[in-house]
Symmetry: C3
Subunit: 348 residues, 3 copies
Amino acid sequence: MEANTQNLAHQAPFPSDRWWVAGFGWELKDQPLARTLLDVPLVLFRTPDGQVAALEDRCCHKELPLSLGAIEPRGLRCGYHGLLFDCQGTCVEIPGQEAIPAKARVRSYELRERDQVLWLWHGSTPDSRPDSEPPAYPFHTDPAFRFGGDMVHYDAPYQLVHDNLLDLSHLGYVHVHTIGGNPGLHMNAQMKVTQDGEVVKVVRHMPGSEAPPTYAQAWPFRGRIDRWQEIEFHLSHLRIWTGAVDEGDAPLDDPQRGGFHMRGFHGVTPETHASCHYFWTISTNPKSNVEEVTRIVVDQTARTFLEDKEIVESQWRNQQRFGFRPQMDIHVDAGPNRARRVIRQLVG
Amino acid sequence: MEANTQNLAHQAPFPSDRWWVAGFGWELKDQPLARTLLDVPLVLFRTPDGQVAALEDRCCHKELPLSLGAIEPRGLRCGYHGLLFDCQGTCVEIPGQEAIPAKARVRSYELRERDQVLWLWHGSTPDSRPDSEPPAYPFHTDPAFRFGGDMVHYDAPYQLVHDNLLDLSHLGYVHVHTIGGNPGLHMNAQMKVTQDGEVVKVVRHMPGSEAPPTYAQAWPFRGRIDRWQEIEFHLSHLRIWTGAVDEGDAPLDDPQRGGFHMRGFHGVTPETHASCHYFWTISTNPKSNVEEVTRIVVDQTARTFLEDKEIVESQWRNQQRFGFRPQMDIHVDAGPNRARRVIRQLVG
Amino acid sequence: MEANTQNLAHQAPFPSDRWWVAGFGWELKDQPLARTLLDVPLVLFRTPDGQVAALEDRCCHKELPLSLGAIEPRGLRCGYHGLLFDCQGTCVEIPGQEAIPAKARVRSYELRERDQVLWLWHGSTPDSRPDSEPPAYPFHTDPAFRFGGDMVHYDAPYQLVHDNLLDLSHLGYVHVHTIGGNPGLHMNAQMKVTQDGEVVKVVRHMPGSEAPPTYAQAWPFRGRIDRWQEIEFHLSHLRIWTGAVDEGDAPLDDPQRGGFHMRGFHGVTPETHASCHYFWTISTNPKSNVEEVTRIVVDQTARTFLEDKEIVESQWRNQQRFGFRPQMDIHVDAGPNRARRVIRQLVG
């Protein structure tokens, strides 16, 4: 049992020198995108030749957000007096002025695109450079899977979203209309929490479960089902593998198990200490009616996440309203608490 | 002449160890109700067997407002992980966990229902228990009267609503379209202010008055009327008896006088130091067309109170904007000032 | 190159003992008008006999804004209890009370109307009285010109609006759909900045320019045009004379030059340290289709100023968001910086 340490008066920094999710590749089209990540207001954009870039969202002249400007082949042009910045933040043109001062530049950040995910390097110092490639996410390119996704903005600290994702026992109360199921089964499911370095795993098996609405619509189950939920917490994102087979059809921990799969990618990136962006995709393996089943799974997942948003934002407002009083832990908090410990040790 | 003592920087507590109005019985149906009273965020609810209860609106586990939960026969179940609390705030079930820790509880408050009014005991300490029954209000059950009412939320401190109700001279300026009348008559009416313990009475007689619109629509007056306004300030609520007889028909202070009666119940309860709830009913004695006259009286009263809300909230915004400068009293402030003194002495 | 000195934590007062624009004469009809000017919440009104007046917007009794009251021949009557104040702020009637205390008064301010502009005297002390007539503005009465105008509220400090008006090089980026034109020409235009006491002048000539949309719609130009922009900064308002002749038709600095004229009056008055009112008119000299051309010029000017509002408010939000970091000047900032220096010396 631990006290809630989220009191904003004692803010820890965000874990640094690592990749965080900045968005999805499809978000960068012909207009620049304003997005604050890890307390830094950024403009993200893609040049006509396909390169992605991230700059501080502030012209060094009169401070207009560069996200109000226009993309050009050489970079981004400010919408007030036309200063042009390249992808490294260097001013390469001041209209009407020959000399460009050395300080005519804005800060740039490493932005990479991999498997349709945009990754931002968050350095502990301005000189910090990536020491690795950003993580791969193969299900965005696996032909056996279809996926869809979206972004949800949370007026709540990012760790409350971690808590929510690492403890799926709430499905029986919050998500009864989509991916829920019988509450008792959820709360009584065997739960195994393990840790490997910074990675926390929570595995829950729910044999003999009723098929919740989304499952029943997406897969031709015969009757009762054996469900699994495997949550893998990485600091920058969670991978949540859920699914089910017909009751008794396969061992639940068989890596080759068939059945219905929903594989979720969940990038949770702080916007500020009291708000965050939640970038999610859900991949599934439709047996037939591929388009329709994919649509059902994606739409109902989207609906489910709006239910979570309502709960978590209400929770956060209430924590503030009651002055961050201590909370009381129960059995389902083992996973979330492990993840919080990982972060606490990193930002010490 | 006294300076305005409402500066929020010097907040007095609210008078305690007494009953305050928490709402009306008909507000508690099959959903829990979130309401902050006297700076305490509460959830009010009625169990299927009719019992009313008030708990702190915060689950002791993850702090979700309990008002987002569901009513069950045994109490209120949290909408996040399903903890169930009884009407005394004791957790009686933690789904999936056998042992229920002793600290699994939320604070409960005494809530009573009498004559369709909900009363909350506001104790000076957690151990404070009611020393009396809450007040009766017979006109909600008197067969000679019909009534209707509603709740108005004020973004203004509760004492500004007291001021407004204890000085009805504003009727001639603020409420000309309903219960107003000729301004000169209002401002020049004889006014008698008396006090008996914590109860302040303001009585005004306005013989030979024009019948204001609401009066003319509700009662078959022949012409000019003799009006009375009797205001009884109790700390938790005001009782305002107004009405009129045809000019010269009866002595205005005759307890047996006939004519048209509007009997108002006005529960004014702080939400915070800068906002309050105003719970009102108006009871009347229609001579004929019972339903229609009742509707006219209730609807026009509702309209009148929205006019008051606009005035009082503007007044409050202006007091803040001008930094709580001293005010200048005039003759009509005798009643309001007496009531302020009662409260000042209680919270001294 | 100078650091941004707008940090709200170090606010300078506003230049005082001078006239500021309070609005336009046509705004004062039969209802009082609430307007905060130079941090003072005021009510402006016109009595039935045509006199204009400005009072503190707070009744000295219960602090209701007087702007919620009603205009009468003798002055303004409060909407709560009917106190009547004359144009000097003296209470001349307390309904129902014979004696009017000496302190029954509200502060009054000098308000004058000249050429349809309302001018407010902002004194350094309560005793400060005007030492001059407010400025004339002849184009509001010149029969050769037609004009229209409006008020724009800015959620940004007034000096950011000065910056915007004193540097018209932004026309090529911000106003391409109305009064803009080719950006290169704007940024490379010769610019002459001069100063005479508190008055700063910026003159730019752009020979051989393309006629921007508004010009082409308002005047029968044959082809390319010679444009001028003459900006005269007075602390209380700017006068911006812009226009054009057919290329080569007249010397651009000839006071008798013909062609198309747009003469702008731009009163910029602080509301608070972080917001301001922008009162503008545009006068033009239509060659034919007088009504239609006037409408085009006024409507497109209005549209242009909404584009400026969006830019300047975004700029201000960004300056706050980035904590008022130093800015980098470029060539076009000479005029704005001169005006800032004038104000800095006055409020030093």
